[in-house]
Amino acid sequence: MSAAIPSGVLAGFRHVDDAAHAIRELKALGYDDFTVYSPVPNHEIADAVGHRISPVRTWTLVGGLTGFGSGLLMTMWMSLDYPVVVGGKPIPSVIPYIVIMFELTILLGALATVTGLVVHAVKNRRAAAYDPHFTDDQIGVFVPCGAERRTAVQQLFQKSGAEEVRLEA
């Protein structure tokens, strides 16, 4: 992370319902720039944060269609570019080309999906404090805030049942 970590409050939760509760409370207070860490994806947390559905699916669709289209155009054009005439049969033979179109649909679909994942994960990255427990067994919430709001956020976390609350200077 190249960007400097902003000052704020970092809390670690052991219980998923506590963390979800704290997130809902934060949202009710109008915070929306917090970062939630969890060792595994969790629906309760995702619902509490309330994201819209990930745009990665558009990448998959566009990648897949591009693959299909390029497979179609490539096979057709390459057969027409140097026609091999066999007994007056049509030069491009679509049925065998479906294999190529299919494979390219999957190939470009998968490449686009991973590209979409990387692009969106990087785009939505926020500089935030972190603790190694968050990939092990704790759910973390980091709220960037100035000194004047720290106590309120700290109390919110403690009331919600945070295991550990830390001030990040």
Binding site: D18, S54, Y82, S93, P96, I106, L107
Partner: protein, 454 residues
């Protein structure tokens, strides 16, 4: 990412490990290897060197040293190519298809299966190159025009194969890497020294934030959805390398499903071969249980039955078609020069898996391990029988022949196993062979209040 929870703890299902225990136990499998590892690696590298030397000898003196005898111009190399592509199939079956079916048990074994897939395709990919003889012309398979402006022939199954196998390699590698990222992050947060630096780079900045998971879970789902039809297509395409020609014994519509079932059958057997010692050495008995082996053996039984049925159907159709060439070809398989290969294949693949109807066998890890070795042997012979035996006994009696693999063939085959195990050994000591994140996912997150989430 499976959401199905394990049953409540009972005597048969001991209590779940905690998240911390999962990280600790799986991270403990990594780290500095002991002497046994280096001895094993030394042996593997020696065999690999022997294979490489045999290959260099073949490059120097030409394909003639490989035992090819007209009309059998596809021999051990193509057999081994199909064998390794087949091995590769169960990885994506377990990681993608069982993921879409929400089978929670897959989480403990899928990483090993997926790594196996990638390394098996890497091994398989070498064989078309070895088989064409002049390795340095391998790029002729890529669609680009030759000096006269002629393009590759897209009606040829061999060109389909290039597309299918390279797509499969790319997609299964991406799938493995995407699955690894959160796990590597967990290990990064535990590791020390140079390993910490290594995992810091390979974790790609993963921290498990809400935004990362939001895109990750969707991307994983779509990858699984793309990989599922891909698995079924790749071995179908490989089977068409044979079925599209008019060689008796090859020209059959049953080939695609028959090859796919056989591929998954051999792949599951290889997964069992790999995880039995892995579980013992890494002390993963708590995560890979008898239940996992029983489920794998059910997959083995299912696909083995399909393979057995396909064997029966091949013989039936050869007789029922009334085609004298088909009939002669299949009579030759069972009672001709290569009867031993055919009966090895039938016994190992068609008869032996019937033992899996007994729950006692399915739950016995030593029995499954031995059986998995026989299945691997049988599946190699299946490809040998299909390829070599069919080619040696085509239409014209004066054009029939006999092929005996040479020492170069056998050494390159042994080298391919060494190549595969070299990658697997390197992987097993540097990356988690059981997914930390996905094993955690099937353990419910601790809650303070009892009520279910809204």
């Amino acid at each position: 990412m499976a959401t199905t929870a394990r049953p409540e703890p009972t005597a048969a299902h001991p209590p779940h490990p905690t998240y911390h225990e999962v990280t600790r136990d799986i991270a403990a499998t990594l780290g500095s290897p002991k002497r046994g590892y280096f001895v094993l690696m030394g042996f593997v590298l020696t065999v690999l060197a022997a294979g490489a030397l045999a290959l260099l000898y073949q490059v120097r003196w030409g394909l003639g040293v490989a035992g090819y005898t007209p009309p059998v111009m596809w021999g051990v190399y193509i057999t081994t190519f199909v064998f390794w592509v087949g091995i590769a199939h169960s990885g994506t079956l377990i990681s993608a298809i069982l993921y879409l079916f929400r089978s929670a048990w897959r989480t403990a074994v899928y990483r090993t299966a997926e790594a196996m897939t990638v390394f098996a395709v890497m091994t398989a990919g070498l064989f078309p190159l070895i088989h064409v003889g002049r390795l340095w012309y391998a790029y002729w398979l890529v669609p680009y025009p030759n000096q006269r402006g002629l393009w590759v022939n897209f009606k040829s199954p061999l060109v389909w194969d290039v597309f299918a196998v390279s797509t499969y390699f790319t997609v299964s590698t991406l799938f493995l890497l995407v699955g690894l990222v959160p796990d590597v992050a967990s290990i990064r947060d535990k590791a020390t020294g140079w390993r910490k630096k290594f995992y810091r780079i390979t974790a790609l900045g993963w921290r498990g934030t809400d935004q990362q998971w939001r895109h990750y879970t969707k991307a994983y789902l779509y990858m699984a959805a793309l990989a599922t039809p891909l698995v079924l297509s790749v071995h179908s395409v490989v089977s068409w390398d044979f079925a599209m020609s008019i060689v008796p014994g090859w020209h059959a519509t049953i080939f695609a499903p028959y090859f796919v079932a056989g591929a998954i059958y051999s792949g599951v057997a290889m997964v069992i071969t790999l995880i039995v010692p892995l579980r013992k050495v890494f002390r993963l008995e708590r995560y890979i249980t008898v239940m996992h082996f029983e489920n794998l053996s059910k997959l083995l039984l299912l696909t083995g039955m399909i393979v057995g049925y396909a064997y029966g159907m091949e013989y039936f159709i050869a007789w029922y078609s009334g085609n004298p060439f088909e009939r002669a070809s299949f009579w030759n398989r069972a009672f001709g020069d290569y009867w031993w290969a055919t009966w090895t294949m039938i016994l190992c693949n068609g008869v032996l898996p019937l033992l899996l109807w007994f729950p006692k066998v399915r739950r016995s890890i030593p029995a499954l391990f031995v059986m998995s070795l026989f299945v691997n042997l049988g599946m190699w012979f299946e490809r040998f029988v299909i390829i070599v035996v069919s080619l040696s006994f085509e239409y014209e009696p004066y054009a029939m022949g006999h092929y005996t693999p040479s020492w170069v063939d056998w050494t390159v085959l042994a080298g391919s196993f060494a190549w595969f195990f070299m990658w697997f050994l390197l992987f097993a000591k540097n990356f988690p062979t059981v997914s930390i994140t996905e094993v955690k996912e099937i353990i419910p997150m601790p809650r303070r209040r009892k009520e279910a989430p809204a």
